[in-house]
Amino acid sequence: MTTKKTKSGVSRRTFISAVGAAGAAGAAATLSGLSAPAVFAQGRRKIRFLNTETSIDSLRALKVAAAEYERVSGTEVVIDSVPLGDAFTKVTTSLRSGSPYDIATLGFVGHVLILAEGGHLVEVNDLTDPYDWGPNILFPINGKNYWYPFDYNLSWIYYRKDLYDDIGLSVPTTWDEFLSNAQKLNTDKRSGSMYPIGSNGATNWMSTAFMWADGVDIFDDNWNIVFDQGDNAKSVVKYLDFFAELYKTMPIGASQASYGEMLSNFASDQIAHSAYAGRLIEAIERNSPDLADKFGIMPYMDSSGKGKAVNHGYDGWVVLNTEASEESMKFMRWFTESQFINFLHTAPLHFQPPRLDIYDDQRWRAHPLIEKYADIIETTQSFLTDPNVRVTSIDTQGPVPDLRPGKVFESFAIPEMLQKKCLQGLSSEDCLQQAGEAMRKAIA
């Protein structure tokens, strides 16, 4: 084969090889992103945001906010979404892999605690201090706030107001009255009530606040389990007796009921009493508008008519201690000042604001559903301001934020206590004793 020389003395083969190599290198560089303009590459900043609110409206609002923030600041906000139950695993594995999320949504104070104690969170007092907050929601750790809650997620009782009116029932203030109403409304067409008893978060959230209203505590100030001792024991035994009777007014399947079943059964006119947060009203609006003016809400009541309670599920954002934490704080400040209400409006009745100033904000109140259900909003707001209403949950019990209540939550000791009573017919005393043992084992 001959090798012709060009005028410059470079052979044609060498020239073609060089051009080919340059082209290939250029293509490779383009593919690997190395060809990005230097100025753009230096100025480009990115925040990774782990979201757990997976409704289409919430996703859309976050994406719009991310695009708007990139426009005004040049910082790209990448939104990843996972179900709430997967968030902590995702956050911890991202930390382990060396590419952590910069902001994350969490729904469990124990997870906030683990991350904060490991030095993985940035304190957000700068963001939270300017506002008044409702009770038992900021969960400060050594006086510092490590998360920005956006939703109380309170579980309260729903009842069919029209059915109450039809047979002249009054809103119950004791367990006996509530049971009596459920029994009277338990017919062939409709079950009297539905409260989950399965080993799941739904039971911990929706079936326990009767006990909180009666003053039951799981821990004392020294983190001893006192759930099965003294007055607590008396209350829990009474609660179990009450719940076993209430169970008889429920449809088959309460042992498997979770969030979806609770929503659908009340919204499809299958049960007269239920529990949930505001999501149930949104479901009624969407699927059963004829029920929209036929329900009322109330807090969980105690055995004697003195105490009331709601159980909170709470959600919030944390800022992780990453290289982008300063930029993340800037984003959070911008988001919570200029986009917060837009975000809350994506689930207007479900996202119950922990920030008390929101309730007076006309922009928030202007949402059609919030206007329509102003009386409901007033009631749910009163749950935060009425000193007689206790706001608590299994995982937030105890003297300070700690992992131990979370372990009791995840041991499902209370759901199993209910199952033993309702499904296996054990005595209330035995159920309580076994629950106490399970709790102690969980935190051992």
Binding site: T92, L115, I197, M250, E410
Partner: protein
Amino acid sequence: MSSKATFMSFLVIGLLITVVLIAAPVAYAISLSFYSLESFIGSPQWVGLDNYIRILSSSEFWNALKNGMIYSLATIVLQVVIGIGMALLLNQIFVGRNIVRGLSILPYLLPTVVIVLTFKWMVDGSIGVLTAGVEAVGLPPIHWFESPVAAMSSVILVSVWLWTPFVTTSFLAALQTVPASLYEAAKVDGTNAVQRFFHITLPMLRPVLTVIILLRGVWMFNKFDVIWLLTGGGPVQSTEHLAVLSYTTAFAKFDIGTGAAIATISFLILSITVFFYFLLFPLDKE
């Protein structure tokens, strides 16, 4: 490239993939079982065999092992018996056979989560179509999940429905390899259908049967999704098996070391079982 080089390159690639995707994660999981740690970002503390001692002395572990044995044995037996029956039926000549064969594999093609959620809504105590059907014909309501026996039966039922098509398809394929002349000769000798099944079909399908039982056994013992989605291990831990117990211990109860110990014990149980299975039913002699 020489055949030796080809062999070596495939071997190296296979070994690399095995090490990276299987051996390393298994080794990491086993190493975790000797530590105490609440999350993947915590500081692990060496505890030696403490996690194993604690879990082996807990009633939850033995209950989960018992549940896993009941679940896997029941589902394997039912899948194999029904699967063989279905395969024999589908091996007959009838109108629309190809359509029926196609439909019979449908449950296996559907995602588990779809199957489970559909089943849960079908048996919903208020609005389930099966509940309404039972009520319409005047029968008492069925408590699908309200007792330990009912809950275990329900997860077995769904699992059998979901994975029997795999057995059916495998047997159906194997049936095509049985020479028709054997059946014809047996018929000439005056055998009936049952005799032909036990003396020709079953012996001819024994290698397939051995592999299917092994595969289904391993899969069912480790099967997590159906039980997790259907009952979450309840009620009162009556359907909680080792896979569920390992998951909840590691990821919900903030005890990754013990969760890893449960997974390691489960792995050992399966490995030993498979070893003895191959001793009893050696494939190379089939």
